[in-house]
């Protein structure tokens, strides 16, 4: 289990400090950065495809918009979708793993076989179909209920829910494995002998004990969800304009790479920001996992 102080021990490594620094800078910049720009930067301007200058450190795009501003806005959406989607997967995976592991036997067998099957199906493809089937309905529903926020953010809400729906499998496996080991331990057996109800044993005795490892895997789920979201947005099937995420910015960047014109800054800056964030998240998640489970 995670001992107190082990998080601090991880952070003593210079690489971990750099990673944490990257995350803090990106998150802070995404949260407050866009508000700091003068109004003229937020609208399309006359300066088309300007390479990076002091006025526009990341250059400008087809519509003369500042790329730095767009990257920060994209970071906002990507990070929100990543965190919220991971939270959904945390809830689902923990519940599923707890039930399977605690029930054991045939129920466990069936539930884990189901997870195996879902692993081998191209889940993202189903999610694509699902999103495009339900987005219109959700927006209709929202406008009928007169919820303007849901009308404009329906895509994001649906992305969060559906990506959470596909990224819970690993979490379920980990939790189930932990529960299988824990439930044979004396303190759980004692609780059972004392006549505690199943729900109390699961919630009061098992859940607190698996929490550390769940949090570690949450760190690794966030980059996975961000990657999924950007995959969908890159194909033009995720976040829709005028909103932007790293994926949709990269799609624009990839289109601007051709033999006639190379607007490299449209590709390089979103790519670097996104890759650095994912790298930092993965690195910290890895280190946390190593401390928790030295066998791996």
């Amino acid at each position: 289990m995670l001992e107190p102080g082990s998080a601090a021990r991880i952070l003593r490594r210079p690489a971990a400090k750099v990673c944490l620094g990257i995350l803090i800078v990106v998150a802070a910049a995404a949260a407050i950065g866009p508000e700091l720009f003068p109004a003229s930067y937020r609208e399309p301007g006359p300066l088309q495809y300007s390479p990076p200058t002091w006025q526009h450190p990341f250059g400008t795009d087809l519509n003369g918009r500042d790329v730095l501003y767009r990257v920060l806005l994209g970071a906002r959406i990507s990070l929100v979708v990543g965190l919220a989607g991971a939270a959904v997967s945390l809830f689902l995976g923990t519940a599923y793993g707890l039930i399977a592991g605690y029930a054991g036997g045939k129920v466990d067998n069936f539930m884990m076989r189901l997870v195996d099957i879902m692993y081998s199906v191209p889940r993202l493809i189903f999610i694509l179909i699902f999103i495009n089937a339900f987005d219109g309905h959700l927006r209709d529903f929202a406008s009928r209920m007169d919820w303007p926020w849901l009308v404009s953010y329906s895509r994001i809400v649906i992305l969060i829910v559906t990506l959470g729906l596909i990224e819970w499998l690993t979490m379920a496996r980990i939790v189930r494995g932990q529960v299988l080991a824990l439930k044979e331990r004396p303190f759980v057996q004692a609780a059972r002998v004392l006549g505690q109800s199943h729900s109390k044993i699961v919630l009061r005795h098992l859940l607190p004990n698996i929490l550390p490892i769940v949090i570690v895997y949450l760190t690794l789920t966030v980059p996975a969800v961000i990657l999924d979201e950007s995959f969908l947005s890159f194909l033009g099937l995720g976040i829709q304009p005028p909103q932007a995420s790293w994926g949709s910015l990269l799609a624009e960047g990839a289109q601007s790479i051709n033999p006639l014109k190379i607007y490299w800054w449209l590709l390089l800056f979103p790519a670097a920001t996104m890759s650095a964030t994912l790298l930092a998240l993965n690195y910290l998640g890895d280190r946390l996992r190593d401390t928790l489970d030295p066998r791996r």
């Binding site: 099957i117 790479i257 190379i262 590709l267 790519a271 996104m274 998240l281």
Partner: protein
């Protein structure tokens, strides 16, 4: 092995049935039909179109009719590419996707196993850390970043390789590397962890104690056992490669099934979309069955009965 296949068959057919059902109804739930255009079509013509594409009548009879057609191997007509059947479109595009996916599959497994072994043998040296750093990097950089960057560097700046298209061997290099890299990274990490664990086991110590050279201890004894987690990953790997090929085909302008998949969603081309999904899932299910069967062959300790 035959017994395993026969035993699994009912469950597999059931999974495939679920896939067909889910796809059919999900597409139908989407707002807007395949014949929605800016200009309204006269009702009589629309009725005829619906009849031609078997989209008339109650939903339930449409569904049973579709199930029967799929069972016969007829994936029906595309509503967007008029007069072309889904079978015909898939017949032309799937070989391209499979060639790309197959090459990436080999690259990812061979590269990943090699890198993981390389790192595990040199545990805690600079080479190990460098290899695992590279793997972490490969895992974190999305394919749609690697692809355009490779195009930019090798296609446009150095002009060594073509920027896209399909047909010549030179055009295969960049897309297959792009598709394989993230998964080679995953396999390398799996392989390193697993090999380190195996190298601590008794039979490895015995092999060393009887004086075998390190090379043959690792490559003849340890690797054979350590490779099992990688074999388990092959099923999910195939699924990821199919999903990933959609992006890679877009980036490199490759005429595979991925582009048709994306357009079929945007065009509400239900039968084409359904066809791609059904064929993908059917192939993955068969592939997973083969992986499970090979698992039993590789590790004699495991009896696959279920």
């Amino acid at each position: 092995m035959l017994k395993l296949i026969v035993r699994r068959l009912p469950a597999l057919i059931f999974v495939l049935f679920c896939v067909v059902t889910l796809t059919f109804f999900l597409i139908r739930l989407a707002p807007g039909g395949p014949f929605d255009r800016e200009r309204k079509i006269p009702p009589a013509i629309e009725a005829q179109l619906l009849a031609k594409y078997k989209l008339d009548g109650p939903l339930w009879t449409q569904f049973t009719g579709y199930l029967a057609d799929v069972a016969r191997g007829d994936l029906r007509l595309s509503t967007k590419y008029r007069n072309r059947s889904v079978n015909e479109i898939l017949g032309q595009t799937l070989p391209v996707t499979f060639a790309l996916g197959g090459i990436a599959f080999v690259l990812a497994t061979v590269g990943g196993i090699w890198l993981g072994t390389f790192a595990a043998v040199r545990r805690d040296t600079a080479a190990d850390r460098l290899a695992m750093g590279a793997a972490l990097l490969g895992l974190s950089i999305p394919m749609f970043v690697i692809g355009p960057v490779l195009v930019l560097v090798f296609g446009l700046w150095l002009k060594w390789l073509p920027v896209g298209g399909w047909g010549s061997p030179a055009q295969i290099i960049l897309p297959s590397i792009t598709l394989a890299l993230p998964f080679a990274a995953v396999i390398a990490r799996l392989m390193r962890t697993s090999l380190l664990e195996v190298l601590n086991q008794d039979f490895v110590r015995t092999a060393k104690a009887k004086g075998l050279p390190d090379r043959s201890v690792v490559y003849k004894h340890a690797l054979r056992v350590a490779i099992l987690p990688v074999v388990t990953y092959l099923g999910p790997l195939a699924a990821h490669l199919l999903t990933g090929s959609i992006v890679v085909e877009t980036v490199f302008n490759i005429p595979g099934a991925g582009g048709f998949f994306v357009h079929s969603i945007l065009n509400r081309d239900g039968f084409l979309l359904g066809g791609v999904v059904i064929v993908y899932c059917a192939l993955l299910i068969v592939f997973n069955l083969l992986v499970d069967a090979s698992y039993a062959l590789l590790d004699r300790r495991i009896r696959v009965d279920a």
